[in-house]
Subunit: 194 residues, 2 copies
Amino acid sequence: MDIQELIDRGFAVKKYPKDKVIYEPGMLPRYVYFIRTGEVRMITVSNDGKEFIQGIFKAGQYFGEPALIVNRRYLAFTIANKDAEIIPVNKQDFFNLIENTPGFSSNLIKTLSNRLFYKSMMLEELANEKAEHRLLTIINYLLADIEIGERLKVTRQELADMTGLRVETVIREIKLLREKGSVNMDKGKIIRLS
Amino acid sequence: MDIQELIDRGFAVKKYPKDKVIYEPGMLPRYVYFIRTGEVRMITVSNDGKEFIQGIFKAGQYFGEPALIVNRRYLAFTIANKDAEIIPVNKQDFFNLIENTPGFSSNLIKTLSNRLFYKSMMLEELANEKAEHRLLTIINYLLADIEIGERLKVTRQELADMTGLRVETVIREIKLLREKGSVNMDKGKIIRLS
DNA sequence: ATATAAACATGATGTAGGTCATAAATTAAG
DNA sequence: CTTAATTTATGACCTACATCATGTTTATAT
């Protein structure tokens, strides 16, 4: 399912400026959101305001289906990370897409499986592993997605919000990882060497 | 997809005695496993031997698809919790089921969405919440699945393995929850009152 | 009924990582 | 260029939970 196809079929594009909330916990799901441009973060927030990054979604991806499919209220916020153009597709239309668009259903199955895989991995980390191991795991996960020689453009705060640690801990731990040579740095950012 | 239908189509049933390992981390996925009878637990184990329960699967359910679908090695062990009869369905047959069995594909999508929902919830808990909150969350999640007046037949060790806590912590915390009245107990086990 | 193994319980002590405070270094904005 | 805002950095202290040790109660098997 590519986004242009949706537009051709007459679905409307909605603009969300950076930091605009797309949906929040407690709301009943009505749409699945297809991202044409920009980026979205999905976060849960604890009582005392600590954020956890459940996922980052980019152009070409969609989000919000699980809650809609199982028909339960959202658990997370989704917020535009940058200015974004998004196509909300309502429940009926979404189910029509699944039924009638060749390959869409199997694409959805793959997407859900992938996310499940990531979440299983992170659950194990958060349940059992300590700071150093958790950090190495996401760092390597993120490094696998960029080119050799590129730097990870992720802040320490974001790493903290993905691992359930606090910034200070991430800062100290990354310093140790660099000293140990477990991680290579370039001007304060982690770089992929191989 | 009900299990009898698979048997009618000629798929073989394999017996696994209690505690038999069905697959383990590092293996390449070759089958999806449909449970005819018995029960299976999926666990990840840290370096120092601590277990985390990724999921429990019962008669009528299937497991092992995500790794097969994304074509990556298993992260977890799956182990028979009780004597079990299981039908391994190989990759090609499984994809045929998706393609050709009416309703199977949408059933799979629902199943994956449900698990994703559970894992998102637990990730938030493990990342941000302390022992008491974590415990109340799974306890209520588990209570929702049993009848009013029934007792939760789950050990404190199992609660520990689902929340990333240690038995002693779970024991102490449950005692506090009972004293606070946040949880009702009957002969040492948590009971659902309403 | 008795033995044996799980499960539950509780105290004493240790520690990883959180919290708080304060500041230097980058990056973005005007 | 200068200012403001983020991000990174570091020390001092604290706390929730882990760890270890040992015992009691409750199931399970013979």
